[in-house]
């Protein structure tokens, strides 16, 4: 799959991308919500967006809201250093909300497998 990774911290982004690539996926990194909106509007097809929550200007949740407002229905996975369950409660429409922790490779793979059962 081709996934868009949105994270202003390039180490966190690289880590997410490494996990995805290890799972046989293609990861494209952008460093802000604005860049994500641009890339997605420009057209190249992605299967899902994986975004960090805590970013300057546009937060992960704001990016999600902006995409949905534009009619973009791509699956959206939010990563956060804070309690993911609280965020999921704040925005139940999120396809998944995952804690940024040492377990990322398992939780992210699990979330993707959940979202795309057919491709597993």
């Amino acid at each position: 799959m081709r996934l868009l990774v949105v994270d202003d911290d390039d180490f966190a982004a690289a880590m997410t991308a490494a996990v995805l690539e290890d799972g046989g996926h293609e990861a494209v990194i952008v460093e802000s919500g604005a860049a994500a909106l641009q890339v997605l509007a420009a057209g190249p097809a992605f299967d899902a967006v994986i975004s960090d929550m805590n970013m300057p200007r546009l937060s992960g949740l704001e990016l999600f809201a902006a995409l949905r407002a534009e009619g973009c229905t791509l699956p959206f996975i939010l990563l956060s250093g804070d309690d993911p369950q609280a965020l999921q409660r704040r925005e139940p429409q999120l396809d998944a909300c995952i804690a940024k922790d040492g377990n990322l490779e398992h939780t992210l793979a699990g979330a993707l497998a959940n979202l795309f059962p057919a491709r597993n």
Binding site: D8, F11, M15, V19, G81, K100, N103, H106, N114
Partner: protein, 559 residues
């Protein structure tokens, strides 16, 4: 394609993570220096607001990124720093409390100092794996079969190794620990798919569960209420009384560790308007269904047999033939008598709708079609077909395919192998002295054996292999792309593991074996020959003393 549940970090990922850790540790001092500079400018007036926001983001990022990279101590310290900054933000709103702010700021500075120290003392950031007392199980590649998942078993009792060996037979990779401290380290460094432990470890499990989201299963000597309650309070996923039968344990482990994803619904869309077909397909695929569009009605029978849809969605009015004629045509093929057909049309006239129903339409959707209506109409009916089909196809005790279904699959796969010039094997297995098991230990014990063999076959064979229960204690398997000898070898390994299982009937433990016969295409040319060949080889295996697998070619050669 095999779906394995391999959870260990691959070597390349491990390398990448190590590189990232190094690079991150090298960059961190710079971020901290920036944070310090920001803190120095904090005056308590309005300009401080922006500085505090930046500081918050800085520590929050370190907390998240460090955790992702496995640098837990740094992440923890940064989490505290984040909290202090948040308190500072609150204090800033009441700018009278300058003293308190100064104290907090001093605390924050101390924390940054600690972080800087932590970076210095992290020369080898990758945690060293603590060695388990013993690791049992299938090493990937050494044996065909699926690795179910990694299990840590912690129990000082002797029978732990015995249980581990049993679990390994079912494809779990089991590490045995005798010390709770070692278990804790291993769980935190490399979380398994589940932990099995004695009730002595209940406190540890409770604290570990906060950090790793995996199921904990408990084995207890006693079934008293207090212990059971304690396990439930600690979040235990299951409670087993000794002696534990491996079969119960595996049933529970499978449920807890294997997420069975149902196959997506398959919907065939027949519409001569490509825009409409695209629209329908888009909506259904967005909910995870698989669709196939058909614009030439003439290809319907090919597409039906190739795509095997759960439901057909059809435009009522098409140029070459009407939906009504079309559905009648589909219904005339015995195989498709039960496939749901849903019509789409702008027809609101009830009498026309009724006449369509009469030729076997299952539903009517009138245009314009709302996405929600479409999804509901399709998923409800497809679900029902699925359930009916599985009830018709499966053996109720083992969940394997039944005789009739397997026979149909044999026809179909043989035809495919013939077309593609591939190989195919038909295997028949029969439990040895099964009547003896039922007579001596009762039918529940016999059922236990049947279910165990069914489960073992499902776990050890490929997803593409079709497994059926052929009758009482007889099983049959269709394996594609393997030779007679390869199939026999796989069966022999399964036999070896099956024979090693011990079953429990009251206080008595017993074990079981099976005999098997394998016949392969293209040596055998027709389904009749395959079935007969496998049956004869099975019979020969029985005569030769049971507990073995023979091929049809071996039997011919021997006679």
């Amino acid at each position: 394609m095999e779906t394995t549940m391999e959870t260990t970090r691959s070597a390349t990922l491990q390398d990448k993570v190590r590189q990232l850790q190094r690079a991150y540790l090298a960059k961190l001092p710079q971020s901290l220096a920036q944070a310090r500079a920001g803190m120095a400018t904090l005056t308590g007036d309005e300009s401080s607001e922006q500085v505090l926001d930046d500081l918050y983001r800085c520590f929050h990022n370190i907390k998240g990124t460090a955790a992702s990279l496995g640098l837990l101590a740094i992440s923890d310290e940064s989490a505290i720093a984040t909290k202090i900054v948040a308190q500072l933000q609150k204090l800033l709103e009441y700018s009278t409390r300058r003293n308190e702010m100064a104290a907090k700021l001093a605390g924050l500075e101390a924390l940054v100092g600690e972080l800087e120290d932590l970076i210095e003392v992290a020369p080898e950031p990758v945690p060293v794996e603590s060695a388990p007392a013993a690791t049992l199980g299938l090493e990937l590649g050494s044996r065909p079969g699926k690795v179910r998942g990694r299990i840590y078993l912690c129990d000082e009792a002797q029978d732990a190794v015995h249980l581990a060996a049993h679990l390994a037979c079912f494809g779990y990779l089991v590490s045995v620990y005798t010390d709770l401290g070692e278990l804790q380290r291993a769980v935190l460094e490399n979380p398994p798919n589940a932990v099995i432990m004695s009730t002595k470890g209940v406190d540890l499990a409770e604290s570990l569960r906060v950090q790793v989201n995996i199921p904990f299963l408990f084995i207890a000597e006693e079934g008293d209420f207090a212990t059971r309650l304690r396990v439930v309070q600690a979040g235990g996923a299951a409670y087993f009384l000794k002696p534990v039968t491996a079969h119960d344990m595996i049933g529970t482990l499978d449920e807890l560790t294997i997420r069975r994803e149902p196959d997506p619904f398959r919907v065939l869309i027949v519409d001569d308007e490509p825009e409409m077909a695209d629209y329908l397909s888009l909506i259904l695929e967005a909910t995870g269904m698989l669709t196939r569009k058909l614009d030439q009605p003439g290809r319907i029978l090919d597409v039906l047999s190739e795509f095997q849809p759960d439901l057909v969605l059809m435009d009522m009015y098409m140029p070459t033939c009407s939906g009504r004629e079309f559905s009648r045509l589909i219904r005339q093929v015995p195989q498709y008598v039960s496939i749901p057909i849903v019509f789409l049309s702008s027809e609101t006239d009830k009498s026309v709708q009724l006449s369509a129903m009469r030729v076997g339409a299952d539903g009517f959707l009138t245009k314009p079609i709302l996405p929600e209506d479409l999804i509901t109409a399709v998923s409800v009916r497809a679900e029902r077909t699925r359930t009916l089909r599985s009830l018709m196809m499966q053996d109720s005790l083992t969940g394997l395919l039944n005789h009739t279904t397997l026979a149909q699959f044999l026809e179909a796969t043989l035809a495919a192998s013939r077309r593609q010039g591939g190989k195919l094997c038909f295997v028949m297995l029969d439990l040895d002295h099964f009547k003896h098991v039922n007579d001596n230990f009762g039918h529940p014990a016999g059922d236990q054996v049947l279910v165990a063999l069914a489960r073992l076959l499902k776990q050890r064979l490929r997803n593409s292999d079709m497994i059926g229960r052929y009758g009482g204690e007889e099983f049959a398997i269709i394996m594609q792309d393997v030779s007679e000898d390869e199939a026999a070898e796989i069966m022999r390994q399964i036999l070896q593991d099956f024979a090693a299982l011990s079953f429990q009937a009251g206080k008595t433990a017993f074990s079981c074996t099976f005999s098997g016969g394998v016949a392969g295409f293209p040596v055998m040319e027709s389904t009749e020959h395959l079935v007969l060949g496998a049956d004869q080889a099975l019979y020969a295996a029985k005569r030769a003393g049971r507990n073995q697998v023979l091929t049809a070619s071996q039997c011919k050669g021997g006679q």
